[in-house]
Amino acid sequence: MKPLITLKNISKEFIEDGFHGMTALADINLEILSGEIFVFVGPSGSGKSTILRIMSGLEKDFKGEVIFGESIAPRDFSFVFQQFALLPWLTVAENISIGLVARNMSARHVKERVNKELKRFGLEKFGNEYPRELSGGMRQRVGIARALATDPKVIFMDEPFSELDSFTAEELRKELLRIWQNPEWIGGEARPTIVMVTHIVEEAIELADRIAVLTPRPGKIERIVKNGLPRPRELRSQAFYALEDELYRLIKP
């Protein structure tokens, strides 16, 4: 299978005090396959968010090469932010619509699509509310709805559940998995590719097909672990715990 996104010798330095650089990422080589859920885990400072930002095009200042497969372009990307990044002056429905408006969709189609997303995420009653009127969990539902509305082929997620309470986070993870397993729901034929960053090992095991463990200072890929546990994953099984132990051994603070 041809890789969808290839990272070649990616490194990134942050200039801290104007003279001395801090190496955030050193020599990252990696291939993301089409339709997989690829998760980066690592402690803070390991550069996992930076990799995501480089891949998605948000970070342009880096060394190395990002190569995209033939079938994708930046318009096929979407991004779910840790702190939701909803625009406070727009209603929930308007927030979900921005990607559709940008794609010059007719007002009627935008409305139809937004209503579909509102319904999917149980937000029908909140379409005309402002983000400030919603709880954190509801806000991230809006964030995910906005990301899915444009039928993305690649969804980047930067610690999307870490601002939420554990119950809400679990519910949203299940919802995400359901959507990923039923791509026709978001108008796609093949499963979207999900590239996610987290610092929660259990979350990585629950979702990922492959897990890249990063170590800090400088950020490096320690190892890429294949997660062959069958879905739906049993969170309290022996195999789950064994994989968890293996990952914890790899993660060095």
């Binding site: 702190q83 990044a85 625009l87 940008a102």
Partner: protein
């Protein structure tokens, strides 16, 4: 009676004394009408008292208000365009100190010279009003633009919002609080500058002409200034206070 209305805001207002029903009450309508009528009534009786034709007085007020309105619209548009062009990056580093010096330009020093060349025309008055009003609006919009959060920019970038949609859904709403605050300050400076400019230029109509005419009569001047303040108070209550509250509320997260 009150309970039959749906609550206008489902989220508590930051000011605990704020009564959301106030804008729907009979009292509010009554006070609004009062603010509209009061300046007219005052000026009508004032004209009787000062033994001048009320037609001439209202014409003076009307002409001064029109000059102000035209100057304000020009200043707002110019300030907005300059702020968008120069708020960040290398352009900001070069332009902002330049604008700061321009801001301190002693307008009234150049006024006699300008009126010598341009004559006591509307154009002269409007140009000098624009030069006075524009700066607070410009710098307030700049500071609004600096409140753009990185992830808002990124969300809009990933959605590929551009052109008119970017203007309407992103840039315009973000700059409204700054534009309103700046307008409040700018117009405050503008009212003073309006009368002074009209007097210095020697405009044949307008409030400057009126105050110049009665410069030897302290009673008429005092009541004239009082009427002027009532007018500005009304405009503030009817236009700027609601706008200010609305624009800041929109940006709340």
């Amino acid at each position: 009676m009150r309970k039959s209305h749906p609550h206008p805001y489902s989220h508590p207002h930051p000011n605990p004394h704020f009564n959301p029903y106030i804008y729907r009450s009979r009292l509010h309508r009554l006070v609004t009408v009062l603010f509209v009528v009061l300046p007219f009534v005052f000026f009508f009786f004032f004209a009787q008292f000062a033994k001048i034709s009320s037609g001439k007085l209202f014409a003076d007020i009307g002409i001064s208000l029109s000059r102000m309105a035209i100057a304000y619209i020009i200043a707002l548009i110019l300030a907005w365009i300059c702020a968008i062009l120069f708020y960040q990056g290398r352009r900001a580093a070069i332009a902002l100190p330049f604008f700061d010096v321009l801001q301190s330009f002693p307008t009234f020093a150049a006024l006699p010279l300008a009126s010598f060349f341009l004559g006591p025309s509307n154009t002269t008055v409007i140009i000098f009003l624009v030069i006075t009003i524009i700066w607070p609006i410009f710098f307030s919009i700049i500071s609004s633009l600096h409140l753009i959060r990185r992830d808002w920019n990124e969300a809009v970038g990933i959605a590929q919002l551009s052109g008119f949609a970017y203007f309407k859904l992103f840039l315009l709403p973000i700059t409204i609080p700054g534009a309103v605050t700046g307008s409040l300050i700018g117009l405050g400076d503008g009212w003073g500058a309006l009368v002074a400019t009209e007097i210095i230029v020697g405009a044949r109509m307008g409030l400057g002409n009126f105050f110049n005419l009665f410069s030897q009569n302290p009673r008429i001047t005092t009541f004239g200034i009082l009427g002027f303040l009532i007018l500005i108070f009304s405009i503030n209550k009817l236009v700027w206070t609601p706008l200010l509250e609305w624009s800041h509320r929109k940006m709340e997260e």
